[in-house]
Symmetry: C2
C-alpha cells in the first residue's frame, strides 16, 4: 500500500501538502493540487484510516452497543443508524453484549478503545450511575430506549406506559372485559412501564386489577407459551391476552392452537413492538408500533449534530408509540 509519503515524493511536494489536498483543510494552489491528485491516482493511494485516527484523534466511527445481534429488533435499529451515518460517510462499529452485564461494560470499553467518536448504547443491565458517569466522560453517548432523568439530554426513549395503555384500551374497545396480561421480566424497565399502562387502561374502563391475571414471562416465545398454559390450566376465564411483546404473543398463538382454540374467534391476542414477523403471523398480529428505526435514526442525527457539527433540522428525544390494528383481536358484542 502506498503511503502519503510516497505520494508526496512522486508529486514533488511535502507531506503536509498532500495531507491538505486529502482533507482540503486549507487552500492549495490548483496546479499543485492537480499534481498531487495525479500522483495519488497513479499509486492507487488509499489513506490509512488507522494512522489517521491516531493522529487526529478522530475515527469517523460511531460505536453501537446492542444486546444481541440476531434479534430483529436490534437489526432494525442498527440498519437505521447505519443508513443515517452512511449519508455523512461515517461508519458504525457494532458490538453485542449478549445480555450479559459484564459484556456491556466490556463492549463500551472496547468501543472507546477503538477511538469511536461517539457511542450509541442500548444497555439493560448497567446502572444509571455508571451511565451518568460515562456521559460526563470524554466520548459523547446517546442512550437508546431508556430514560435517565439526570441525563435526559442523552436519552432517546419510548413512552412505554402509553403503549401499554393503548394496547389494552384497544382490546377493551373491541368489547373484551376478561383480559389477561403476560408481562416481560420484572427487571426490565420497559416491561414494568408497559404493564403500568395496561393497569391504567383497566382502571379507566372500570375493570378491577387482579394480580392473578398477570403472568411474568421472559419476552421470548416460551414466555407466551408458559403464560398461556398457566392461565388455561388455572381455569380463569379470558377472551383476550395482551402481551408485553410480539415474541410472547406468537408463543401464545401457537400454544392456544395446540389447545384446540381457533384464532381469533376463541382468543384475541395483542402484541407490542411491531417486529417484522408480526405481519407474517396468521391472523396477523395487532400490536403497538415501536418506532425503533426512527429512534435509531434520531440517535445518529444527534451525533451528527453534536459531534460532527452538521446541522440536522429538528431533533426529538421522546417518542410515542402507536397502535397497529390487524386481525388478531376480534370484536365481541356484549351479551
Amino acid at each position: 500500500m502506498a503511503t502519503i509519503y510516497e505520494v508526496s515524493k512522486l508529486a514533488g511536494v511535502s507531506l503536509a501538502t498532500v495531507s491538505r489536498v486529502i482533507n482540503d483543510s486549507s487552500a492549495v494552489r490548483k496546479t499543485t493540487k492537480d499534481k498531487v491528485e495525479r500522483a495519488m491516482k497513479q499509486l492507487n493511494y488509499k489513506p490509512n484510516s488507522v494512522a489517521k485516527s491516531l493522529a487526529s484523534n478522530r475515527s469517523d466511527c460511531i460505536g453501537v452497543l446492542v444486546s444481541e445481534l440476531k434479534s430483529p429488533f436490534f437489526t432494525r435499529m442498527m440498519g437505521a443508524i447505519d443508513a443515517e451515518c452512511r449519508q455523512f460517510e461515517k461508519h458504525i462499529v457494532v458490538t453485542a453484549s449478549e445480555n450479559d452485564p459484564l459484556h456491556e461494560k466490556e463492549g463500551i470499553e472496547f468501543l472507546i478503545g477503538r477511538n469511536c467518536d461517539a457511542l450509541i448504547l442500548h444497555v439493560e443491565s448497567l446502572s444509571d450511575e455508571y451511565l451518568i458517569e460515562l456521559s460526563q466522560g470524554k466520548v459523547p453517548i446517546v442512550i437508546l430506549n431508556r430514560q435517565i432523568p439526570q441525563i435526559s439530554d442523552h436519552c432517546i426513549s419510548l413512552n412505554n406506559e402509553l403503549g401499554g395503555y393503548l394496547a389494552t384500551k384497544a382490546v377493551i374497545e373491541h368489547g373484551h372485559r376478561n383480559i389477561v396480561y403476560i408481562s416481560g421480566p420484572e427487571h426490565k424497565k420497559d416491561a414494568i412501564q408497559r404493564l403500568a399502562g395496561h393497569r391504567r387502561a383497566l382502571m379507566e374502563a372500570g375493570i378491577g386489577i387482579d394480580q392473578t391475571r398477570i403472568f411474568t414471562g421472559d419476552y421470548l416465545q416460551t414466555g407466551g407459551q408458559e403464560g398461556f398454559k398457566h392461565f388455561h390450566d388455572s381455569g380463569i376465564q379470558f377472551s383476550a391476552v395482551v402481551c408485553g411483546n410480539d415474541e410472547m404473543a406468537t408463543g401464545v398463538m401457537a400454544t392456544a392452537r395446540e389447545c384446540g382454540l381457533s384464532l381469533p374467534e376463541d382468543l384475541s391476542v395483542m402484541g407490542f413492538d411491531n417486529v417484522v414477523f408480526s405481519r407474517y403471523t396468521f391472523p396477523r398480529l395487532s400490536t403497538v408500533d415501536n418506532p425503533i428505526t426512527d429512534m435509531g435514526k434520531m440517535a445518529a442525527r444527534i451525533i451528527m449534530e453534536d459531534v460532527y457539527k452538521k446541522s440536522m433540522g429538528s431533533i426529538n428525544k421522546s417518542f410515542e408509540p402507536s397502535l397497529v390494528i390487524r386481525e388478531s383481536v376480534s370484536r365481541i358484542t356484549k351479551d
Copy 2:
C-alpha cells in the same frame, strides 16, 4: 486516558517492559511485572487499540460485509460470526452494501483501510474476477454463500441445487403433481441453482418441465404476491407452489388467503432458508434449512486458524441443506 508512558514512569520501568507485560511477549521478572500491573490498575490504564494496530499492523478485527443489516438472514450470520470471534477476543466490524455493487467495493476498501486482519464477505454483484484478485491480495478473505472454482479454498457455500431438489421432491412426495415455482432473480446464482434442483426433482418424478409454470420473482414478499397472482389469473391449475425463499412464500400465503383460499387445504406452499419467522406463519412454513449460522461460524473458524493460528478442529467448506417439514404442505391422495 493514561498511556503506556505514564504507566512506565509510575512503575519505574521502561516503555518496553510495560509493553511486554501487556502482551506477555517475553519473560519479565515477577516482581517488575507486579509493579507494572499495579501501576496499570492505579491509572486505570486501557491500551489504545488504534495505536496498537498502527504499530503492530494487527487490529484483532475481522471485517464483515453483508448486503443489508436489517435482514433476518444476515443477522443470523453476523450473530454466529460474532459469537465465534468473541471466544478468541476478536471483534467484527460490519458494513452493509445495501445491495449496491458500488457499495460492495467501497465496503471492502473501507474494511481493508480499517486494518482488518481478515474479511468475511457476502457479496452478490462483484465479479468473480474481482474476488479472485482480491483473494491474492494481502488481507485474507472468506467468501460466504458463493462458489468460485478458482478460489474454492476461500469459499463457503451451500448446495443450493440440492436444496431446490429436496424442496420440490418433498412436495411431490406429498402427492402433488401440479406444481408451480416462483424463483429468485435470474442474476442471483443461488436462485438459478435452486431452480435447477426444482427441475431435477420434476424430471425424476416424470413430470415435464413447463416454462409457463415458472415465475421469476424478487426474493421479497412482493415477488410471492406477484407470482401467485400471475398463476392464479392465468388459469393454470396448481395445488402447490414452491418458492425460492421464505419471504416470497409468505407473500404467496397472504395473497392466496386474500383470494379466498384456505391453507394448507387449498394450496400447499414450500419455502427456502428457514428464516426465523417461518416458524411464526400459519400454517407454519415447510422449508429447506439454510445452515447460515453454521456457515458463518465456519468462516470465523477458518480465519482463527489461518490468521491467528488457533487450531480449530475439523473444517468444512461445503454445506448441505436439509428439509424442514412443518404444516404448509398438505398431503393429497391420488384420485
